[in-house]
Structures are given as C-alpha cells and as structure tokens.
Subunit: 342 residues, 2 copies
C-alpha cells in the first residue's frame, strides 16, 4: 500500500458508487489565490440584532420564545413548502415534477457565542434528541419521504448567521445523493446480508490507519474515499437504519463523538472550523430499509490554514472530485489532536 501515498490514483466510494482522484505529490503546490477571512470575532452571548437569539424578532415579524436549550421553527424562507401545488411537466426532454416539503431551522443553544465545539456534551445530547424527534415527526407527515438534517457552519460555507444552528429539509422524494446511497447499500445488503458500513467498520477497526476517535458505540474516521481535505464520518458500530434506533443511553456517546470531533477541528488551524455536516439515514417512505446504516459526515473546506481552502471548481465540476493530501495523512493529524484534547 505504499504506492498509494505517492502516486496519483482514484479511490472508490462504495456508498455512492463514485470515485475521487487523489494526487498525494501535489500537496507541495504553492498558493497565490484567494484567502478566506478567518472568523476571529468575539461574539456576545446574546445579540439584540440576531434573528435567532431568544426573545428577538425574526425576518417574518414573529418573536422567538425565551428558549433555554434547543429551539426549532419552520424556516421563514423555506426552499420547500408543504402546500405547494402538485404538477408535472413531461414534454420530450423537458421534464419536471412538483416537490413538496417542510424546512426547519434548529437553534442548538440560546447562547449566541457558542458553536457545537464550545457546548458541553449534555447540551449536544439535547440537540440529538431534537433531531430524533424531528425525524419521527416530519417523517410521519403526509408526502414526506425523506428527512435531511444538516448544518452549514461558517461564512465560507454560506452560513448567514453565526448563531449556532442547523437545518432540516424534508421532502416528498429522495434527493440524488440519497438515491445513490440507497442503491449501493441495498445491493450490498442483498449480497452479504450485512450492511455495507458494518463490514467497512470491521476493516477500518483492524487497519487502524484512518481512525480519529472511538468510544463504545461510535467510530469517528476519515473514510478511505474522503473528498474534502479533512472530511470525517461518524458511524455507529451497530447497524441502525436511522438515528431513532440509537438506544437512549447511547445518545450521550454520539454527543461525545460530535464534541471530540468539533473541538479537534477547532484546534487544527486554531480557528472556529467551518464545515457542512449532514446525517444520511433511511428514507421515511415506509419501505423495508434494513440495508441502511446511518452516518453523519463532515465536509470542511479548509486545506492548509484558517485562510486557504480547497476549491471544488473546474476539473472537479466537470470531471470528478480531487484531493491532494491523502486521507491517511489527514486522519493521522486529526487523531494526534484528538488524543491530546485535554
């Protein structure tokens, strides 16, 4: 396996069926391009101008309650709407379908100054319980067959408000990425009678080359097929279709995994580390979803400092994702930081 640390190659992502190009020798490339603004602002615990802080007015005129921990509401600018009109267009190569859905915003904490990395594990656990409730409640709504939980953190990731928050977009059909993972996991389960990630974890726990952190119920690792420089996946050791299958006493272990990872990220470049994270889990379509093994992924853009990010542009848009440092190098760096957090 030493050639893999030296020569250009592509790696296969069995969850999506797609490949990523890895160019280990290219890590030395000098950078003269755009630099990002690192977020070094000190934020107050309550910002009177923030539309997510407790007691403040939102864009649509509503007032937020004086919430104490987690607070969820329907997005004032939902990309998907529950009662939007049904229609289809099917005219030769011009094909469209109405899509209904419900979009929510979830404030992780009333404290404007905090991110998940600054919150304690018990408070992160409350966020997890809310995700579980929302997955169930939204999933039961008529015409909702998939629930996407995600967070955009940092201005560089298109986040327009630094108040700690994530989103949940739920909708009638399965989006592209979920269709890919559904197909791949289904095919694997059919052949092996085990989930794909169950077998993958077994390999990774033996190889120990890409592990970042582990507790009784979770593995935090850089997947072999990671696209983003410091991409990480949190995977439950037990095969579970969705986050509601996580035993109540293990939600604290999920919270711990999130806490360790986000703190590690912040230490990497000494900055509040930007990323988009998301949970891929079984659709709520009422079908047999035994083949699903839920997991949470983090896609952070920073490449070599708080200001230099990886751009997924030309070749990546027209060809395929490309990365320079190898997942093994990234994992080693993150593991070292995680091991020395306290």
């Amino acid at each position: 396996m030493e050639n893999i640390q030296e020569y250009s190659h592509k790696r296969y992502n069995p969850l999506t069926g797609e490949w990523v190009l890895v160019s280990p020798h290219r890590a030395k490339r000098p950078w003269q391009g755009q630099e990002e603004e690192p977020s070094k602002e000190q934020r107050p615990s309550h910002d009177p101008t923030c539309y997510l802080c407790a007691g403040n007015k939102r864009a649509n005129g509503e007032t937020n309650p004086d919430y104490n921990d987690v607070y969820v509401f329907v997005n004032d600018f939902s990309a998907l709407q529950k009662d939007s009109k049904q229609f289809t267009v099917n005219d030769g190569l011009i094909k469209a379908e109405a899509e209904q859905g419900i979009c929510k915003v979830i404030c992780f904490s009333p404290d404007h100054s905090k991110s998940l990395a600054d919150m304690n594990v018990k408070d992160i656990q409350k966020v997890i319980h809310t995700w579980q409730n929302e997955y169930v409640t939204l999933g039961k709504q008529p015409n909702i067959n998939y629930v996407q939980i995600f967070e955009n953190k940092g201005a560089v990731m298109g986040c327009s408000n630094p108040h700690p928050h994530g989103q949940i977009w739920s909708q009638s059909t399965l989006p592209n990425e979920v269709v890919k993972k559904d197909n791949q996991q289904k095919a694997y389960f059919k052949t092996h009678q085990k989930t794909l990630l169950q077998d993958y974890l077994k390999q990774e726990l033996k190889l120990k080359e890409r592990l970042v952190f582990e507790n009784r119920a979770f593995v935090v690792l850089v997947p072999f097929w990671a696209v983003w420089p410091y991409e990480v996946m949190i995977v439950p050791k037990q095969p579970q279709e969705d986050i509601t299958k996580l035993p109540r006493e293990e939600t604290i272990l999920f919270a711990e995994a999130i806490s360790v990872l986000t703190k590690t990220y912040d230490k990497l470049f000494n900055t509040s580390f930007p990323y988009s994270s998301g949970i891929h889990q079984a659709p709520t379509n009422g079908e047999d979803n035994d083949h699903w093994h839920w997991h949470m992924s983090f896609y952070p853009p920073l490449l070599r400092s708080a200001t230099v990010k990886k751009f997924m542009v030309g070749y990546e848009m027209f060809g395929m994702a490309q990365r320079d440092i190898t997942p093994e190098t990234a994992a080693k760096t993150l593991k070292h930081l995680a091991d020395n957090l306290y």
Copy 2:
C-alpha cells in the same frame, strides 16, 4: 407551465440522469452572509511577477517563451502524471486504482490584462484551434482515454493567477461526470438514433424561452435543468462527437458564441464575471462514440450582485443541487443584455 414559475419543483437533467431542486418563491430571501471581493483591479498588459506572462520565470525555474497568441505547457504541479506507477488495491470495501494522465496549462493571450470577454473573436478562435490540437495530441497518447478542457476564472473560483488561462487534464479513465453523460447519451441514441442534444435543441429553438444567443452553427442557452444561477450551455447545432469535428469555417462562430456570452456575463453585474467553464466531449478511448454531442458549459457562482454568490453547501452536498431564480428568468435577463451588447 405557469406553476413552474411559482412552486417548488425538481427538474430532470437528461444528460446526467440527476435532478435539481428549484424554489422560485425563494428569490426574495434577504442576504446577510459572506460577500465576495469583486475584482476591480486594473491589470497591466505585462506583469513582471506573473508566472504566465511571456518571458517570465515559472515556479519550476523554466522561462516562458516570448509567445504572441496562445501558449501551452505541462502543468508544473500536475494532479496527474504520465509515468506514475501502476497499481490496484482491492481489499474488501477498500478499492483504489492508479490513474495516469497529463495536465496542461493554456495561456489564452500574452496580454495579462485581458480575459476572453476582452479578447477579439479572431484571438478566441486561436484558443479554439489550440483546444482542437490538444484534444487530438493528448487523445493519441498511450493510456489517455479522456481529455477535459476547462477554465477557472476569478479568485472566487479558485483561480490563483488572473492571467487569462485555462487548463486541460487528460487521463486514463472516464471521470464520474463523463461516465454519467456517456451512459445517458448512449441510451438515448440507441432508442432514438439521434443525439440527445439534437432533439433537445429542436425543442428549445421552438420554445424560445431559454435562448440567449444564436448564430448559424451554435445555440447559447440556459438549460432547463441549470444548477448555477446563470449557468449557460453552448451547443453546436450539428451533432458532433468532439470539437475537432467542427468544420474549420465554423470555429469562428464558436469563438463568436464564447465572445458574446462572456461579454454578456461581464455586463450582468458590471464585474469581470467569475465562472468555471468546461467542454464535455467524446472520450478518446477509440470506441464508437456516435452518441456524443459535445457542448461547453459555464457554471458561474454569482447570484444577485458582484459580491453575493450562491453557496452549494449543506443541503446541496447531502441532498441535491438547489436554485432560487428559474432558468427562464435567468435566460431572459441574459438575452436582453446579449441583444444590446453593442
């Protein structure tokens, strides 16, 4: 078709087989997030510190010749290499393959201050002739089965040098996006004995809702399934597998299409408009590629001004691409500008 301008829906991209979520009602969303730095710098025609200008030293110590029009050289930091080692890894769910390739840089003009939008049509034609030569030369190299021509323009698109230039990455296997378009076009051609884009153009030329510009040989349009706010595709009217099939007397018409589009873009927000562009064309794998109809796409990130871009983040990474303004609105705006260029 009026519902489509009002309600959330998804549109099908027959070239890739994937969908894009369209939320027309969301265009009014206020923006409080990150703003980009518009490029307002005045550049000199020759910059002594630029490693792409004629006569200057490059990062690897070589000196550029005193070139007069287009200049091509092998990328000093190639992501793919010609002589890199062959190997495969196939260990359960851990799967990788060596990938060989040749990466080149193509300077469009010796004039450091110009972009394609500022160059005259005859000079753009020289760029096209170089693309044609490179497609043939690279495609003939052993173990090169696909040639990706692209340009990253603007710092926001990861371009690290403002000197007008593009890139060509060629490689042994077909990257993900090309595999999708290969499959979809092949299936369509088999059923209809015509290329997919041939039939699509027929529809668009009749509907006239998404056209931006047209000449004898080319159509410039916003595809029905466009992902980026002002995404545009340049398509030859005749079905041609690759750019070398373009009759010599029509390369000037391709140059005109590129010129009109890039000038239109610059007028849209009164800024040197950033984008990634790329040409998708038949692989050079020696197979029967009758089903391919080459086309050039432009993916520009700006959404509503020179400083506010669309972020493809959380939902888009985990679910599917999402857009606010409809392709019809974008096309109308661009067409109006294109009609009044001079």
